[in-house]
């Protein structure tokens, strides 16, 4: 089946039906920078908007913390519970050359062979529209096809904020090491995650200590009711220890989100944040202000509930560019 032969709405239907080839083509499409393809991408994304039943879970943590290994273990565990899994791994290894060696897929053991697990690597290249936009759109595609969607990003600090914009749950994978707490606090990591997982518990002693430190840090750092503080779990991705408990914690977080309405709130807020940051990236704070600032943006989004974030970004962008072009006419 060639990419040209199928319309974006046909493609969307196939994605929703869980056709893996279609998912791959859809991911190619939302990553395509050619303006001619952008229109198709928007049709696709609009068709998928709000349809994605998949839960979105971000996995972040320092390089080498074991995120990819954990993904393999989680995918295996979820498959055993009958759920399908889509994974987006954002690899930071791009070079000056623009090239990248995408290394996360390597860690997928047996689950890579499972027809119910889909894995796409994405290079964190500096590209038009920025990584966050492509990643956000890719997550939408995966969420339309699979029960659970994971996004792996490396990061300490800033990047959690942007991942948090397109996931329902953020898991921080901590590397057991003494004295990390200060690092965590400095990087502001304690503020974002919904679940902490201290990995490599097979390395004696260290994991327990790190978990204790994290809990202490959360007691100090996060004001909420102790009952609302994020759980700190530990286990070994390598040996498959603590994985079931982690899946249970993720499910519990989702159940709670559904119960409290946090789920909708967060998705809305995330959508808005993605749109805002994309516009700021493209046109600057000044540009956003010219569009009427955040209130105008909120109004526009509220008026177009069925449009994808990308659709809104382009529509507002077009408005800005038209206005700018008109004003700068001699």
């Amino acid at each position: 089946m060639s990419e040209g032969a199928e319309s974006p709405s046909e493609l969307a239907a196939r994605v929703k039906a869980g056709d893996r080839g279609a998912v791959a083509r859809a991911l190619n499409l939302v990553d395509d920078r050619r303006s001619a393809r952008r229109a198709d991408a928007l049709v696709l994304l609009d068709a998928l908007e709000g349809q994605g039943r998949g839960r979105r879970i971000g996995l972040t943590g320092a390089p080498g913390a074991g995120k990819s290994t954990l993904l393999d273990a989680l995918a295996t565990g979820l498959r055993a519970r009958g759920r399908t899994v889509g994974i987006l791994a954002v690899d930071p290894s791009s070079r000056k050359s623009g090239g990248a060696l995408l290394g996360d897929r390597f860690r997928m053991g047996a689950s890579a062979r499972d027809a119910g697990v889909f894995f796409r690597s994405l290079a964190a290249r500096d590209q038009l529209g920025g990584l966050a936009e492509v990643a956000g759109a890719s997550v939408e595609v995966l969420a339309a096809a699979f029960d659970v969607v994971f996004v792996e990003t490396v990061g300490v600090g800033q990047s959690e904020a942007s991942v948090a914009d397109f996931v329902d749950t953020l898991v921080f994978v901590a590397q057991p090491a003494a004295g990390d707490l200060l690092q965590f606090m400095k990087a502001g990591i304690l503020e974002w995650p919904d679940v902490f997982f201290v990995n490599k518990s097979d390395l004696e002693g260290l994991a327990t200590r790190t978990a204790t430190e994290l809990r202490a840090g959360l007691d100090l750092g996060r004001g909420e009711d102790p009952a609302d503080r994020p759980p700190v779990l530990s286990g070994s991705a390598r040996d498959g220890v603590g994985i079931d408990a982690l899946i249970d914690a993720l499910d519990a977080h989702h159940a709670k989100q559904d119960r409290t309405g946090e789920f909708r709130r967060r998705r809305e807020a995330g959508r808005l944040a993605r749109i805002e940051s994309a516009l700021v990236r493209r046109y600057g704070r000044f540009g956003l202000a010219r569009l009427g600032g955040r209130p105008a943006l909120e109004a526009f989004v509220a008026a177009h509930p069925a449009r994808s974030a990308e659709g809104v970004i382009d529509a507002l962008g077009a408005r800005f560019e038209a206005g700018f072009a008109a004003k700068s006419e001699p």
């Binding site: 791959a24 990553d31 050359s97 995408l102 062979r113 894995f119 290079a123 290249r125």
Partner: protein, 689 residues
């Protein structure tokens, strides 16, 4: 044996020549019967030891009829599935009188068990056996690729073979710590020394730590009557003395000679300082050598005859650093498998060196040479520093898991290839002196390599099935259960493995038990973190073309580098992956030993523009076509496929007919050019875009 003073410059022997090293030829193919015939004729030609090459299914623990074995049975070595195969392999070769080197690692315990069982069936005794199991898993992770289990389990297996043989097969070399394969993966002499020493230390440390191996009872039960207890000093010295090495020797043969001297000295130093060993005999580094193959060329292949001879000289010239055994590759190394005639030429090379030259009549020629001493010291100092570095990281196992050593090898290899590309490193016939008349050795239309009979696989599978149906199923089941129980109980694996061999358990069944207990492991590829090389003008040009095509494609050009099958030759794939990244492509490379299904799934999920397959084991006929067919079936027929490896010209044409766009072989050393062609291929395939 000092030279007899002789004032006349005549050419009579100066002294009674020393006994030469062991002459070996690494061989085996098709079937146990065919290999047996080959061994017998090699022995008749004056070869003095055997060196068994097993096929990849045997090395990775699959029976010949396993799906992963398809296309690989009997190809690069002999298939051994059970005791009858082993018996056939050594038919009319009394094992008590033989010295046999087995290149076997993940399944070393099993093949040794089959060997012991065969010797006993021949009426011999284990105690008298002499030979070597390679049994070095660290270098499998770093270079050779026939690993099976995670590092911890592998170290345990290695240690158990050591402690079993030290007690029960006293003249056996239970492990051959290999620096050979590191050089074949690009290692510099310093890396070769440092990483192999780190490897040996990790083994010795783990043996010392698990001193209670003795106490587990199984050794006593199997004939070791000594009192149990900790691995005492005397035992440690004995173990140290049983560890042998397998070295490489490249074309820079003076430096290689110094490297051998440096290793000898460093090993002794480690024995004394780290393990407190004082017995001079135990402290002597014992090693065999296979000379370098990585530098043997496809272009003007007859030049390799000279390279091989010079490399052999490097490890025999200095008496103090002379190899105990030597294997030489053949002149047609880069073309394919050697025929008996090709191997005979290599054996003759050794014989000329040993019996015609006066090499063996002298004491060490270089003792007291300032030049040699200095170079040796430099190598030792640099190697010691790198060794300290690896030990500080937690030792060889840690430096496998964090990919440090692998990454260093990939980087060194990248530097080597760069130097060939730029001309900084001269390779005669490849990047210099390329003008040539046609070689009578490789005339068009005639094959100059060994063709393994395609029917060998089928015949082997039939004989395996017949074996399975004639053995006693109940005995097999019991043996398997006892094996598993023993492993889980932490007992030495050898006794129950020997029992399993006698009961008729197969290679696949034995390994399956271990896979179940230990799990499987994939070693890091080392490419992700390898640092980018500085761009040459040719590179910058390709990069611009990649950028331009990426613009046109809408996404950055993305390539999947895949290694289907059991083939462990990763150098080519690694270097292509690194180069593609440096040329500006996004690269998915997931390491060796993937199935065609996995590769096709990756190609689809990852949305790549081109798939590049690398196969050197000779199974391209089956595996490449399988990938191409599966891609078509998955609707990915429009994605072009290119292939590289050891692909004879007539096979290359057949692959092209099956839809492969380009085929590359070792003579295509210019990686920038290959990248340019990949850009062309992708551009062609996306003309409409």
């Amino acid at each position: 044996m000092s030279p007899r003073p002789d004032s006349r410059a005549d050419s009579r022997p100066v002294s009674r020549p020393e006994k030469p090293w062991l002459f070996r030829t690494y061989s085996g193919h098709s079937s146990a019967r065919a290999s047996n015939a080959l061994y017998r004729s090699n022995l008749a030609k004056g070869q003095t030891g055997l060196s068994v090459a097993f096929d990849l299914p045997t090395q990775t623990g699959y029976d010949s009829d396993h799906p992963l074995a398809r296309g690989e049975v009997g190809k690069v070595g002999v298939p051994i599935c059970h005791i009858d195969d082993m018996q056939t392999l050594f038919d009319a070769i009394p094992l008590e009188q033989m010295n046999t080197s087995m290149t076997i690692n993940a399944t070393a315990a099993w093949l040794l068990a089959l060997y012991v069982a065969t010797a006993e069936r021949q009426g011999g005794s284990a105690r008298k056996l002499r030979g070597t199991t390679q049994n070095d898993i660290i270098k499998e992770y770093l270079s050779r690729g026939t690993f099976g289990f995670p590092p911890e389990a592998s170290m345990r297996l290695t240690s158990e073979i050591v402690s079993y043989t030290v007690a029960n097969v006293p003249d056996w070399n239970p492990i051959n710590v290999c620096s050979y394969h590191l050089q074949e993966a690009g290692a510099t002499p310093v890396q070769e020394i440092a990483f192999s020493m780190a490897n040996a230390i990790s083994l010795l440390d783990s043996l010392r730590a698990s001193g209670d191996l003795r106490a587990s009872g199984d050794l006593r039960a199997s004939g070791d009557l000594r009192a149990s207890g900790d691995l005492r000093d005397a035992d440690l010295a004995k173990v140290f003395g049983r560890i042998s090495f397998f070295l490489n020797a490249g074309i820079r043969f003076v430096e290689e000679m110094c490297k051998c001297r440096a290793m000898t000295a460093l090993w002794e130093e480690i024995g004394r300082t780290r393990y407190g060993i004082t017995d001079e005999k135990m402290l002597r580094l014992r090693y065999g050598v296979q000379v370098n193959s990585l530098g043997l060329t496809e272009a003007q292949p007859e030049n390799n005859i000279v390279r091989i001879a010079l490399e052999a000289l490097g490890v025999t010239l200095s008496q103090r650093a002379r190899a105990r055994s030597l294997q030489l590759p053949a002149w047609n190394e880069a073309l394919g498998l050697p025929r008996p005639w090709d191997q005979q030429l290599s054996l003759r090379t050794q014989q000329i060196l040993a019996y015609e030259t006066d090499l063996l009549e002298y004491d060490d020629l270089f003792d007291g040479s300032h030049v040699v001493e200095r170079r040796t010291r430099e190598l030792m100092d640099a190697a010691r520093a790198e060794l300290e570095n690896v030990l500080a990281m937690g030792g060889a196992v840690a430096a496998v898991e964090n990919a440090y050593m692998k990454q260093k090898l990939v980087e060194s290899h990248t530097a080597r290839i760069r130097a060939i590309e730029s001309g900084a490193l001269t390779v005669v016939g490849v990047n210099a002196y390329r003008e040539t008349v046609e070689s009578p050795l490789v005339q068009a239309g005639t094959s100059s390599i060994l063709k393994v009979d395609e029917s060998a696989e089928r015949a082997q599978i039939e004989s395996l099935r017949a074996f399975r149906s004639r053995r006693n199923a109940a005995e097999v089941a019991t043996a398997i259960r006892q094996l598993e129980d023993a492993i889980r109980a932490g007992q030495n694996i050898m006794p129950p493995s020997i029992a399993a061999a006698k009961a008729g358990v197969t290679t696949g069944e034995w390994t399956e038990v271990l896979r179940r207990v230990f799990g499987e492991y994939r070693a890091p590829t080392g490419v992700a973190a390898s640092s980018a090389a500085a761009a040459s003008p040719a590179d910058s040009q390709v990069r611009e073309r990649v950028d331009a095509l990426s613009q046109r494609l809408g996404r950055r050009l993305k390539i999947l580098v895949g290694k289907p099958g059991l083939d462990g030759h990763s150098n080519g794939a690694e270097q292509i992956a690194v180069k593609a990244r440096d040329a500006g492509m996004e690269v998915v490379y997931d390491g060796i030993r993937l199935t065609p299904e996995e590769i096709v799934q990756s190609a689809r999920d990852e949305g790549v523009h081109v798939v590049g397959l690398s196969i050197l084991s000779g199974s391209h006929g089956v595996l490449v076509v399988d990938v191409v067919e599966r891609m078509k079936a998955a609707g990915l027929g429009a994605i072009p496929v290119v292939v590289g490896g050891i692909i004879p010209p007539e096979d290359a044409r057949a692959l092209e007919r099956a839809g492969v766009r380009r085929v590359y072989t070792p003579k295509d050393f210019d990686l920038a050019r290959i990248m340019g062609e990949i850009v062309d291929v992708v551009a062609e395939a996306n003309r409409a875009a």
